[in-house]
């Protein structure tokens, strides 16, 4: 046994710079971060190590349109373990055209606080 905390190496993915972080868990249950080139790295490491969150994107077929698919994403990341439950909810969607970019297709999906948003505009059939 050692009193030195274990170090997790991970890459900050908040932007394509991809800082290599060394993240040590502290005795107090937090993290100590090194290698970050901006402040975002610290909060990223805390979240990534202690409670990872992910956004997700997919597409669903629309009713009544020639452009058949409406792409969607979440308004905010959700806990990683919610990816597949949220995908199952999105899988039930058959949005009716017209759909506009940014339209909320499911509000507060599964109580995560995140909305499912359309990410492209699909005009109605004329």
């Amino acid at each position: 046994m050692t009193d030195r905390p274990a170090v997790d190496r991970l890459t900050c993915v908040l932007c394509p710079v991809g800082c290599e972080l060394e993240v040590a868990r502290t005795a107090a249950g937090g993290v100590a971060v090194a290698g970050n080139r901006c402040d975002k790295g610290v909060s990223f490491a805390e979240e990534e190590v202690l409670r990872p969150k992910r956004n997700l994107a997919t597409s669903v077929p629309a009713k009544g349109t020639a452009a058949r698919m409406v792409s969607v994403r979440l308004s905010a990341p959700v806990p990683r373990e919610m990816i597949f439950p949220v995908l199952a909810e999105i899988g039930k969607l058959r949005p009716e055209a017209p759909v506009r970019r940014g339209q909320v297709l499911i509000a507060d999906v599964l109580g995560t606080g995140a909305d499912v948003l359309a990410t492209r505009t699909v005009r109605g059939q004329t």
Partner: protein
């Protein structure tokens, strides 16, 4: 009886309406060009962004992370609002002398005479043929981008059990996308000793779902009569040759190839544009002008980018310079050549006007390196024009370095300890 084809005159014609082309059109407009026309062969603007439904776009251009279709719509809306003319369903067949474009448009064959042209045609994926995988020719083999199109835009399922060859970003994104669709992704195999995609994609697309990434490993055979039944993988040695005795049969019905992108320069070649064997794109000067006067290039047709925003920034710059050319500005004077030095695959632009200041060079490392300095050095004087430290540098990441001073000799962009 031969009819005279419809002919239009524009200040700047942009070939391709993706992230680079739309930005080029905006750049031209904002620099004062009168008539700016985007010619897009697809039915909609946006190019490859339309099928890139994942987020991670726009961090640099819009200061927030959005999906590909949103990025495309926003850029297209800006272009239309600022007076850019657009023709979709318009395929440019030929770019001739004096910047005369022959176009197969919705209204039929037509001609466009342009004061300046911006090439923004993007790139294509490398195929099985180009990497020569032996075996049968069954159904179930896709380039990663074509699978992405089938899944995201046509709602088709590509298979049940997939193997992905190559760790390029599209392959990584598709590993996650197929997992979402209930396809079992059995592994990503990469011939090089390092991954080719962005780190965040390795983590979020593979590690999150326990998908193995096998480095120094490739596919040496495809098996199956009508449909892929398995692929044979093997480890490779330092010369990338398969090592006998390391073969493993991986049962699967689908093989995705994410083995590189090639700038699509058929039109450029017809126009006589000099191409670089290192980038597959045009040789350009610091204004992004090619060897053909008045013809500019940007985005993936110039060199492969890993971030759409940077293709757009290159587009803005090319469009601005094209507008200035169309307005009669002609760069004059001696040019200097810029070459790739130690550990650098290429540096772009490949030439610059002597006396030009504030030029930004793009470059890629040959292999992953730690604690290096990139230096722009004068080849004769040894003078260091710019220097930047990197704690770590990866071949998958396009990097930039700006030289503030005026350049007046041949230069070399190299990585040094």
């Amino acid at each position: 009886m031969a009819e005279t084809p419809r002919t239009s005159d524009v200040d700047v014609a942009v070939i391709g309406g993706g992230p680079a082309g739309l930005a080029a059109a905006l750049g031209a407009k904002r620099a004062g060009a009168g008539r700016v026309l985007v010619l897009e062969r697809d039915r909609t603007l946006g190019g490859i962004l339309n099928q890139c439904v994942h987020d991670g776009f726009g961090l640099f251009l819009y200061k927030e992370t959005i999906s590909g279709p949103e990025y495309a719509e926003r850029l297209a809306e800006n272009a239309l609002r600022e007076g850019v003319a657009v023709e979709t369903g318009a395929m440019v067949l030929d770019l001739g002398p004096d910047r005369l474009l022959r176009v197969n448009a919705r209204g039929g064959y037509s001609l466009v005479r342009a004061g300046a042209v911006v090439l923004a045609m993007g790139c294509r994926e490398r195929t099985r043929d180009m990497i020569g995988i032996p075996g049968t020719r069954p159904a179930g083999i896709y380039t990663a981008g074509s699978a992405q199109r089938l899944v995201n835009l046509q709602n088709l399922r590509v298979g049940n059990e997939a193997v992905i060859l190559g760790s390029g970003d599209i392959g990584l994104i598709m590993a996650r996308r197929l997992t979402f669709e209930g396809v079992r992704v059995k592994g990503v195999f990469e011939i090089m000793p390092w991954a080719n995609g962005l780190e965040r994609n390795i983590r979020q697309c593979l590690m999150d779902f326990g998908i193995p990434l096998e480095l120094r490993t490739t596919v040496v055979e495809i098996r199956g009569r009508d449909r892929v039944e398995s692929v044979v993988t093997a480890e490779v040695d330092d010369r990338l040759a398969p090592v006998a005795g390391t073969e493993t049969v991986v049962p699967c019905d689908t093989l995705l190839l994410s083995v590189g992108l090639v700038p699509e320069n058929e039109l450029s070649k017809r126009a006589g544009v000099e191409l670089s064997p290192l980038t597959g794109g045009a040789v350009v000067d610091e204004t992004l002008m090619t060897s053909v006067p008045g013809v500019f290039s940007c985005g993936n047709v110039l060199h492969i980018h890993d971030v759409a925003d940077w293709a757009s920034f290159e587009g803005f710059a090319a469009g601005e310079r094209a507008a200035r050319y169309a307005a009669g500005e002609r760069p004059a004077g001696r040019t200097v050549r810029v070459s790739a030095g130690p550990e650098v695959r290429y540096a772009l632009p490949q030439t610059a006007r002597a006396g030009a200041a504030g030029v930004e060079w793009s470059f890629r490392a040959v292999r992953p390196l730690r604690d290096v300095r990139v230096e722009v050095r004068g080849r004769d004087s040894g003078r260091i024009y710019a220097r930047r430290k990197f704690g770590r540098i990866l071949p998958s990441e396009l990097q930039k370095i700006r030289v503030r001073a005026a350049v007046d000799e041949d230069l070399e962009v190299g990585l040094h300890d």
